[in-house]
């Protein structure tokens, strides 16, 4: 899907090192987990025992052994697992959380992109209406927000900084158009 959106290689400014690097994160099983109002603690405990990660109670991302839990709302998480088959992953979660909360497969709904490079902050600032300064949005922070009128979930995975963005599938083309335009002045390198 990604290769159709933007040709691999260099876009925008071609001189020097690319200011922004973008890479699709493929092979992810993705699901939303939503706890019933009175069972948030039970769902959190179940997720913790299953993945060894304490689900964040605020907009944040916690990762362990290829599984990430991103807080997207009170009692609501986006779960991303690399190298897992999506239907099986969802079914397993459903079983574990049966009667506690809802599990919904979103593996095909979201395109996850990894963005890095020295100018990634200046590029994201052209669309993200959040303060991404290290003092406000350090590694492990997450947000559900809007970029270029497209709803995205965004989280920071390291201090480089590197960000991951989950973009709705139908909007992926428009998102990449925005990214290519916004990163053009710094040079955008598309990695596969």
């Amino acid at each position: 899907m990604f290769d159709k959106l933007l040709e691999p290689g260099r876009h925008g400014l071609v001189d020097g090192r690319a200011g922004v690097l973008v890479r699709p994160v493929e092979g992810l099983a993705i699901a939303t987990v939503t706890a019933g109002a009175k069972r948030i603690a039970a769902v959190a405990d179940t997720l913790e025992s299953r993945f060894g990660i304490k689900p964040p109670a605020r907009p944040a991302c916690r990762e362990r052994d290829g599984v990430s839990l991103v807080g997207t709302g009170p009692g609501r998480w986006l779960v991303l697992a690399s190298g897992q088959e999506s239907a099986g992953f969802e079914a397993g979660l459903c079983c574990a959380l049966d009667g506690l909360g809802a599990v919904t497969d979103q593996s095909d709904a979201l395109l996850v992109l990894e963005l890095a490079g020295p100018d990634v902050g200046r590029t994201l600032a052209k669309g993200v209406t959040l303060d991404l300064h290290a003092s406000v949005f350090p590694t492990g922070s997450a947000a559900v927000t809007v970029v270029n009128h497209i709803g995205v979930t965004l989280w920071q995975t390291d201090d480089a900084p590197t960000y991951r963005l989950a973009v709705p599938r139908s909007y992926a083309g428009s998102f990449m158009d925005w990214l290519a335009g916004s990163a053009a002045e710094f040079g955008l390198e598309t990695l596969s």
């Binding site: 109002a37 605020r58 907009p59 997207t72 709302g73 009170p74 609501r76 209406t129 959040l130 947000a143 559900v144 927000t145 809007v146 709803g151």
Partner: protein, 85 residues
């Protein structure tokens, strides 16, 4: 304008959509038509502090009760609508 979402933190108003007066209560289904008429159509229009429903549709998708001064746009606070007052 910025709205302090209790979950997401301070966010730009463009992430939210506005509904209106948060003090309205949907009448019981046995209430007379007049009660529904008032609920659907009658609104106070106060100059000053006002409790309003806002939906954080581009964020955590929670409905919020925001206390906003309609004269100064000063926002005194926001809480989840589903939480009892």
């Amino acid at each position: 304008m910025r709205i302090p979402c209790p979950y997401c933190g301070s966010r730009d108003v463009q992430e939210f959509s506005y509904l209106g007066d948060a003090n309205l209560r949907r009448p019981d289904h046995e209430a007379p038509e007049a009660a529904f008429h008032d609920y659907v159509y009658l609104r106070d229009n106060p100059a000053g502090p006002h409790r309003e429903l806002w939906y954080h549709g581009s964020g955590c998708r929670n409905w919020l009760v925001v206390t906003r001064n309609t004269v100064t746009h000063d926002i005194a606070g926001a809480r989840f609508a589903k939480e009892p007052t």
